[in-house]
Symmetry: none
Subunit: 250 residues, 2 copies
DNA sequence: TCAAATATCAATCATAATCATCCAAATGTA
DNA sequence: TACATTTGGATGATTATGATTGATATTTGA
């Protein structure tokens, strides 16, 4: 086996399980213990991993390392591209609403240094936003464990006291006739309110969300622009007659 | 098993339940008592946890008023004792307010299975509460990075829509004449409101908070009972004339 | 409240696992 | 073939582990 190939295997194992023993790696690559040792020595010099007694550990590259389940998500690249586009729309001093969701989560790192005020209904966004030095408000309400969103009358009431320059909302279904839809009626109400309270509203959605219809209607397509990685020209032009569509390339 | 892997497991257990016995950790990692001791010794040097007799305790990294004693995690045992007492006061079905703070944080693990509804102004409590299966509401408001509390008019407005059976509030200063005090005026307003909205109000405070006076007055002593580890009989009996004092022994 | 019973602690030791280093065999290259 | 590189195994040195011990700390029970 090629040396570089073997080292790639080592790194991919570490990326997956964060730690590995020398023996595990030796077995996975059919190389001897000594060879693995040499690989680890070299890869440590290149700062690709950290050696520990008995094996090696993955080096967390960024401050925010995406959680394991995120990392394995199929559409991570698309989400990141969409998030970059969304971030580029944000102007100095904008007051923003950012909805709970995995795609919207990706927008947060692209807000640095623009002096924004961010309101969110996702309690787990707050830490990250504060660490970036962004003035952060959170809506009140009942915490929903599955999506990490705040919902209910308290959430709606506290949302009412804000007005936004722009909002970014995640969505489950986009359909030319049925508009924007999402499974949870209470979440739908929050999304609808956020869109209504914004000067400019954007829905972020990767290609899997199109032609889908979910239980609760959020709004008609014309109410918000769409930012997506969708790659079907006919569908895009059909939607473009109803609202603005910003397409990013994967 | 890799040493680093084992230590990661230890830290994740502590993060989940805030404290653990040596035996628990030994069992969870299939390592001997001696090995766990060595791990704890090392992790304590790295300030990743605080050792206590019989086990270890989680060090809360973020939220903070920088009192030296707190920083070094010296009062972890006291906080846990206070939290146990607080938890024992909670009855089946109670609707609770739990204030942001390091001592109040310790109360959360003692709420399991009592079918409570919890309202909090600490955005970083939500994850833990939801994982315990507790119905959780959060006040809205501006997020303050130092203490992890939600403050401002939005927080006050959303707090107004609740009524509590019991509330547990952290405090910086307790003084027979000046009452309960805390540094931030906006946090003080939230604490005061929570106390007013509760049928029974409790202030949790370790011994370092007594005879201290801070900038903003929260309430008179008579407004809330005190749960503490204080060990000065003269001071306790003086305070006991003004309000209920529940003393736990370290 | 005090002393006995119990549990936990730090320190030490023998054992086992892993390490860095070296060397010879295997492989790749000119 | 001659040379450089890579590989796998062997060596003593280093480190991690688990059991033991006497010293402390905590709990129990009268």
């Amino acid at each position: 086996m090629l040396t570089t190939k073997r080292q790639q295997i080592i790194l991919s194992i570490l990326k997956k399980q964060l730690n590995a023993t020398i023996h595990e790696l030796s077995e996975a690559t059919n190389a001897s213990i000594s060879t693995i040792r040499r690989d680890l020595e070299q890869l440590e010099k290149e700062e690709k991993l950290k050696r520990v007694h008995g094996g090696a550990s993955y080096i967390q590259t960024k401050l925010y390392e995406p959680k394991l389940e995120d990392k394995q998500g199929l559409n991570e690249v698309a989400k990141e591209q969409i998030a970059i586009e969304a971030g580029s729309l944000v102007e100095e001093g904008d007051c923003l609403f950012i909805d709970a969701g995995t795609t919207t989560r990706h927008i947060l790192p692209h807000l640095v240094g623009k002096n924004n005020v961010v309101v969110t209904n996702a309690y787990h966004f707050v830490d990250f936003l504060l660490r970036q030095g962004i003035e952060t408000y959170i809506t009140g309400g009942r915490a929903k464990s599955k999506t990490g969103a705040l919902i209910g009358v308290q959430a709606e009431d506290s949302l009412m006291s804000f007005r936004f320059d722009k909002c970014f909302v995640g969505i489950n279904g986009i359909h030319p006739v049925h508009g924007f839809t999402t499974p949870d009626p209470e979440e739908a109400r929050i999304k609808r309110m956020a869109i209504e309270l914004s000067r400019e509203a954007y829905v972020v959605a990767d290609e899997t969300k199109f032609q889908e219809v979910s239980f609760s209607k959020v709004a008609d397509l014309k109410k918000a622009s769409i930012i997506t990685d969708l790659n079907e020209t006919t569908l895009i032009s059909a939607l473009a007659k109803l609202t603005e569509v910003r397409v990013v390339n994967k």
